[in-house]
C-alpha cells in the first residue's frame, strides 16, 4: 500500500519574480514596475529565504526535479540576476540530474546575448508569453511587445540553444475573430515549439480590461465564439503533432511540462518569493504578496509566510480529483488508491455516477477522465468534488 506517497517524491521549486515593465490590462497577478533597487533587495531576500529552507528541509525534501521561475516577468531582471537565482538554488537544494529548469520570458525583455547567458547558466526550458500574433489584440491586452518582436524572440531562443520552448497564447480576447485565432495558431506551429499553452481570457474583477468591458468600451468575446476557438485549437494542434495533455496545455511527445504536472498530480512544491504558494508537509501556505512585507519579514530573519492551512485527508482527496481531472488522461485511479488507501470510485460514488450519467466524465483504462462533452464544462465537474 505504500507504493505512492507524495512526500517521497522529489519537489517542484517555484520562484516568483514580482516585476514587470508594465502591467498587462488583464493581469491580476502580483507584480510591481521594475526598479533596479527593488530588484536588488528582492534578490537578497530571495537568497536568504533559500538559505533558510536549505537548512530547514531534510535531504529528501530538498531533492528538486523541476525549477520554475515565473512572474511577473522574470526577464525584467538582468540575465545575471536570473543566473544568480539558479546558482543559489543549486547551492541550497539538490537539483536532480535532468531537472527541468524553466524561466518565463516576455518578448521585448529578451535579447540574443541575454538568452545565451541564461542557456549557459543552466536554464533548459524557456516559456515565452506571446499571447497573440495580432498587434491589434496585443494592444487590447496591454502587452508591451509586437507580433514581430514575438517571432524574433522565439528565433533568438532557438539560436541561443533552447531546445525546449513553450509559447503562451490567449483566446477569447475582445475583438478577436476566428480568423485571428487560426492565424495565431498557424504562426505558432511554424515556430515548432515543443510546448504550447492556451488560456481562455478571464476578465478578472478590477483589471483595466474588465473595466473597459464593463463600461462598454470593448465587447467581451461571446461564449460560443470562445468555445469554438478552443475546439478549433484542439483539432488544429492535434493535426500538427501536439498532444493535448491538459485542459490548456499541448506538447510534442515527451515534452510535457514536468513542473506543471506536479501541480496537477497534487504533489508537493515549494514556492519562494513574494506571493509564492507552497504545498509542503500537508500544508498549503503562501508568502506575503506585498514586496514590502516580504522584504521586511525576510530582513528580520522571519518566515515571510502570510497564511496557511493544514490540508486534511478529505480535502487532499478532493484536490487530487479536481486537479487530476485537468489532465486529459484524467485521475489515475490506481495511484489514488495507493496514495489514500481508498478507492476514488467509492469515496465519490454519487458524484461520479451523477457526472457519468450527464456524460461529463468516464472511466477509461484505469483513469477517470473528462469526456469530450465535459472538457469545456470542467468547472461543473470540479465543483462536484469540492
Amino acid at each position: 500500500m505504500n507504493g505512492y506517497k507524495p512526500d517521497r517524491m522529489p519537489r517542484a521549486l517555484y520562484i516568483h519574480v514580482p516585476f514587470c515593465l508594465k502591467k498587462c490590462h488583464y493581469c491580476d497577478f502580483v507584480s510591481y514596475p521594475f526598479k533596479a533597487g527593488d530588484a536588488e533587495a528582492y534578490l537578497g531576500a530571495l537568497f536568504r529565504e533559500m538559505r533558510s529552507y536549505g537548512s530547514a528541509l531534510s535531504g529528501e525534501e530538498k531533492r528538486i526535479s523541476s525549477l520554475y521561475i515565473g512572474g511577473g516577468t522574470p526577464t525584467c531582471l538582468p540575465a545575471a540576476g536570473l543566473s544568480a537565482i539558479l546558482e543559489n538554488a543549486a547551492l541550497h537544494f539538490n537539483l536532480l540530474p535532468g531537472c527541468e529548469i524553466t524561466v518565463e520570458a516576455n518578448p521585448g525583455t529578451v535579447d540574443p546575448g541575454g538568452l545565451r547567458e541564461l542557456k549557459r547558466a543552466g536554464f533548459n526550458r524557456l516559456s515565452l508569453g506571446i499571447q497573440s500574433f495580432q498587434d491589434r489584440l496585443l494592444r487590447v491586452l496591454g502587452r508591451v511587445h509586437s507580433a514581430r518582436e514575438a517571432v524574433c524572440a522565439a528565433r533568438q531562443a532557438r539560436e541561443a540553444g533552447f531546445t525546449n520552448l513553450n509559447l503562451d497564447f490567449i483566446f477569447g480576447v475582445p475583438g478577436q475573430t476566428s480568423g485571428d485565432w487560426l492565424e495565431t495558431l498557424t504562426k505558432a506551429v511554424e515556430l515548432f515549439p515543443e510546448h504550447i499553452a492556451l488560456y481562455g481570457l478571464q476578465l478578472e474583477a478590477g483589471t483595466p480590461l474588465e473595466r473597459s468591458v464593463a463600461g462598454g468600451a470593448v465587447k467581451a468575446c461571446s461564449e460560443d465564439l470562445e468555445l469554438s476557438m478552443y475546439l478549433t485549437a484542439i483539432e488544429f494542434l492535434a493535426a500538427h503533432g501536439y498532444i493535448h495533455y491538459e485542459i490548456s496545455n499541448f506538447a510534442r511527445p515527451g515534452r510535457q511540462s514536468v513542473h506543471n504536472l506536479g501541480y496537477w498530480l497534487n504533489r508537493p512544491y515549494l514556492g519562494l518569493g513574494p506571493a509564492a504558494h507552497s504545498y509542503l508537509r500537508g500544508r498549503r501556505f503562501h508568502n506575503y504578496s506585498s514586496l514590502k512585507s516580504y522584504l521586511e519579514k525576510v530582513g528580520l530573519g522571519e518566515d515571510p509566510v502570510e497564511a496557511g492551512e493544514h490540508i486534511p485527508v478529505g480535502r487532499e482527496m478532493s484536490e487530487t480529483m479536481f486537479l487530476g481531472l485537468r489532465l486529459i488522461k484524467g485521475v489515475d485511479l490506481g495511484r489514488f488508491r495507493r496514495r489514500f488507501d481508498r478507492r476514488a470510485e467509492v469515496v465519490y460514488r454519487e458524484e461520479i455516477a451523477r457526472l457519468e450519467q450527464n456524460g461529463l466524465i468516464k472511466v477509461a483504462a484505469g483513469y477517470l477522465q473528462l469526456t469530450k462533452k465535459g472538457l469545456p464544462l470542467a468547472n461543473a465537474v470540479f465543483r462536484e468534488f469540492v
Binding site: 481562455g200 461564449e223 479536481f322 450527464n358 468547472n379 465543483r383 469540492v386
Partner: protein
C-alpha cells in the same frame, strides 16, 4: 382613585398612518404624568420593532391616564389604541366597541384619508362621540379651515369646535383632555348585573399565559374569580387583574366601565378570542356582547424552509407566533417542488408580510414564500362546493361547474388630478365602478367593487406609483361572485412546478403567462442543459421561454500553485447552488417563487 363610573372616559384615536396618532398618544401620556419624560421612548405604544420601523400599529395597546380636569375632579381616562391597517379592521371594530368616544385626528395638510373615513364610519356605527382634532398645525402648509370643511362635507360632523393641535410641539393637549371629559359620555352598564366584559385584544406572556385585554361592560371582575368565555365555553380562574400604565400593573378588581387586563393561566390566545365575552362561571350572563366574529384568513400563501432540514424550526416558530396571534393559521402542506412546509392564512397582505418578516428576523429562518392567493369557492359538476386555499389543489377544468372569488368594496380617496389613473388601474384589475363623490374641490372619493385577488397582486405599489402616493385605499369584504377563472401552471423542464401555479382571470392568462416565463428566464441560472420554461392553462401551452445551456465553464488560466484560490472559487459556486431549490434536475433560486408577485405591469 375611588371607582366612580361617571368619572370614567373610554376613548380611542382614529387616524391615518402618519397623521400623528402615536405622537399625540405620547403627549397625552406625558401631560397626565403617566410616564415621565425620562421614561418616554419615541412612540411608547408601538412596541414591536416592526411597528416602529413601519410607523404603524399592528398590535393594540391600551393605557390608563389619570387626569385632574378643570372642573376640579379627577377622571380615569382609558385610551385604547387601534391598529391602523385594513387587515385588522375586525380588531378595530372591537376596540371601538370598548369605547364611548373617539378622537378623529386629521393631518392639517393631508386632510381625510380613506382609512380614516372607514374607521370614522365604524365609530359612528358604534355610536361613539367623535372629537375632531386637526394635527400638525405647526406645518407651514397647514390648512385647518380646508380640513374642517372636509370633515363637515365628507363625514357630516360639526367641525367648528375641532381642536387644533401640534402633537409634535405639544400644543392643544390639555384642550383635548378637557374635551374628552366634557364630550365623551361616561360608560353605561349595570354594576349589579352579572359580569360581562369584552375582550378587545390579547397577548401571550410566557409566564402568565394569554392575557386578555378587557372592557368591563356589566358587573366586575376580581382575582380569584371563576370566569367563563361565553363563545368558547372555556372556564378559568383569574390570577391577576390589572391596568395598563402602560406596563401591566396589578389592581385587585376591575369594575363596570373600566378597562384593564386579566390573566388566568390561559394557555393559548385562541382561548381568549378577540370579541368574546368574559362572564362569571358561577353566575353567568346569558347574552354575549354583540359583534363577535371569528377572524377568518383572507389571504393564503405557502411557507417553506429553504433547506428541508428547516421544517421543524419553521413549525416551532409558527407555533410560537400563533401564541400571540389568534388570526394566523397554518396547515402542513407538501409541495412536489418545495417539499414540506405550511399553507398559512392571514388577515391580509400586511399581516402576511409581518409574519414572514418576523419568522426571518426573530427566528432566523430562511424561507421560500409562494405568491399569496385568496380563497376560491369551486362548485364541481357533482354539485359540491370546495374551498380552495391553494391553487395547485384546483380540480381539473372538466370537473368544475363554476368558480367564485371574493370581492371587496374598495374606497379610494385621491386628489382629483389622479382620478384618471386610479380608474384606469381599477378597470385593468376588473373593478366595477359604483360611485364617485367630490369631498372638496380638490379631492374625490371613488368606490369600486373589485376582486380581492386583484388587490393582493401588486396593487398597492401600482396605486402608489400612479398617484405619487397621494391616493388612499380602504376595502371591506363584499361576498363572493362568479368569475371566469383558470389555473395557470408553470412548467420548468417539462415538469409542473406546483408552487408557481396561480389562479387568474381567463382573459388575463395569456398576458400573465408571458410575463411570468420572461421573468423566470431571467431568474433561473443557466445549467448544463437547455431548460424550457412554459406557461400552461390545462394542457395548452400559452407561453414559452428557454434558458440556454452553459456551453463553456472552465478556468483555463493556471494560477501557479494557488490551489486554495481555485478551490475557494469552486466552493463558492457550489455554495450558491446550495441556496437554490433543486427541482428535478433544475436548481431554482428563491426569488423565482415570488416571481408571480413582482412581474411588472408594463
Amino acid at each position: 382613585m375611588k371607582w366612580d363610573k361617571n368619572r370614567i372616559r373610554n376613548f380611542c384615536i382614529i387616524a391615518h398612518i402618519d397623521h400623528g396618532k402615536s405622537t399625540l398618544a405620547d403627549r397625552l401620556l406625558e401631560y397626565t404624568g403617566t410616564l415621565s419624560g425620562r421614561e418616554m421612548t419615541d412612540q411608547v405604544l408601538d412596541q414591536m420593532d416592526l411597528e416602529r420601523e413601519r410607523g404603524i400599529t399592528i398590535k393594540m395597546q391600551a393605557v390608563r391616564l389619570n387626569y385632574s380636569a378643570r372642573d376640579g375632579r379627577d377622571y380615569q381616562l382609558n385610551l385604547i389604541d387601534t391598529p391602523g391597517h385594513v387587515d385588522f379592521s375586525y380588531e378595530v371594530s372591537r376596540s371601538l366597541a370598548a369605547c364611548e368616544g373617539a378622537l378623529l385626528v386629521v393631518d392639517a395638510v393631508q386632510g381625510i384619508e380613506a382609512q380614516t373615513l372607514a374607521n370614522v364610519y365604524l365609530a359612528l356605527e358604534h355610536n361613539l362621540e367623535i372629537i375632531p382634532v386637526i394635527n400638525k398645525i405647526d406645518l407651514p402648509s397647514a390648512n385647518p379651515e380646508r380640513v374642517k370643511k372636509e370633515i363637515e362635507d365628507v363625514i357630516g360632523l360639526d367641525a367648528s369646535e375641532a381642536v387644533l393641535t401640534s402633537a409634535k410641539e405639544g400644543t392643544g393637549v390639555e384642550e383635548i383632555l378637557e374635551r374628552i371629559v366634557t364630550v365623551v359620555p361616561p360608560p353605561g352598564g349595570q354594576a349589579g348585573a352579572p359580569l360581562r366584559a369584552l375582550i378587545f385584544d390579547s397577548h401571550y406572556d410566557p409566564y402568565k399565559g394569554a392575557i386578555a385585554y378587557i372592557r368591563v361592560v356589566d358587573g366586575s371582575v376580581s382575582s380569584g374569580m371563576q370566569i367563563k368565555m361565553l363563545v368558547t365555553g372555556k372556564e378559568f380562574e383569574v390570577n391577576e387583574v390589572g391596568i395598563f400604565r402602560p406596563s401591566l400593573v396589578s389592581i385587585g378588581e376591575l369594575r363596570t366601565g373600566e378597562v384593564g387586563f386579566i390573566a388566568a393561566s390561559i394557555k393559548n390566545v385562541k382561548d381568549c378570542r378577540v370579541g368574546d365575552t368574559v362572564t362569571g362561571a358561577r353566575k353567568p350572563a346569558t347574552e354575549p356582547l354583540p359583534g363577535y366574529r371569528r377572524a377568518t384568513p383572507m389571504v393564503y400563501c405557502g411557507l417553506y424552509p429553504v433547506e428541508t432540514a428547516g421544517y421543524e424550526d419553521l413549525k416551532e416558530a409558527l407555533a410560537k407566533l400563533k401564541l400571540n396571534d389568534a388570526s394566523l393559521t397554518d396547515e402542513p402542506e407538501t409541495s412536489e417542488a418545495l417539499g414540506f412546509g405550511f399553507r398559512c392564512g392571514f388577515l391580509g397582505l400586511l399581516h402576511m408580510e409581518i409574519v414572514q418578516e418576523r419568522l426571518e428576523r426573530e427566528y432566523g429562518l430562511s424561507l421560500i414564500t409562494t405568491a399569496p392567493n385568496v380563497v376560491y369557492h369551486v362548485v364541481t359538476t357533482a354539485g359540491e362546493m370546495i374551498e380552495i386555499e391553494n391553487p395547485s389543489a384546483m380540480p381539473p377544468a372538466g370537473k368544475i361547474e363554476f368558480i367564485e372569488e371574493p370581492y371587496v368594496k374598495a374606497t379610494f380617496m385621491v386628489p382629483k388630478e389622479y382620478v384618471g389613473p386610479v380608474m384606469e388601474l381599477c378597470q385593468d384589475r376588473r373593478g366595477v365602478f359604483t360611485n364617485m363623490e367630490y369631498m372638496s374641490v380638490k379631492r374625490v372619493m371613488m368606490n369600486y367593487d373589485m376582486p380581492l385577488s386583484e388587490i393582493i397582486y401588486d396593487f398597492f405599489d401600482q396605486l402608489k406609483s400612479r398617484t405619487k402616493g397621494y391616493a388612499s385605499l380602504d376595502y371591506e369584504l363584499a361576498g363572493y361572485r362568479q368569475a371566469k377563472l383558470v389555473k395557470l401552471d408553470v412548467m420548468i423542464a417539462g415538469e409542473v412546478l406546483d408552487a408557481l401555479s396561480v389562479i387568474v382571470h381567463r382573459d388575463k392568462a395569456y398576458h400573465r403567462g408571458r410575463q411570468l416565463v420572461e421573468k423566470l428566464r431571467g431568474l433561473i441560472p443557466r445549467h448544463l442543459f437547455e431548460i424550457p420554461i412554459q406557461a400552461a392553462v390545462g394542457n395548452k401551452i400559452i407561453a414559452r421561454e428557454t434558458v440556454r445551456a452553459v456551453r463553456k465553464d472552465v478556468l483555463a488560466k493556471c494560477y501557479g500553485g494557488d490551489v486554495t484560490r481555485k478551490r475557494k472559487l469552486l466552493e463558492k459556486q457550489k455554495e450558491g447552488k446550495k441556496r437554490m431549490k433543486q427541482v428535478g434536475n433544475v436548481e431554482i433560486p428563491q426569488e423565482a417563487f415570488m416571481a408571480v408577485l413582482s412581474v411588472s405591469e408594463k
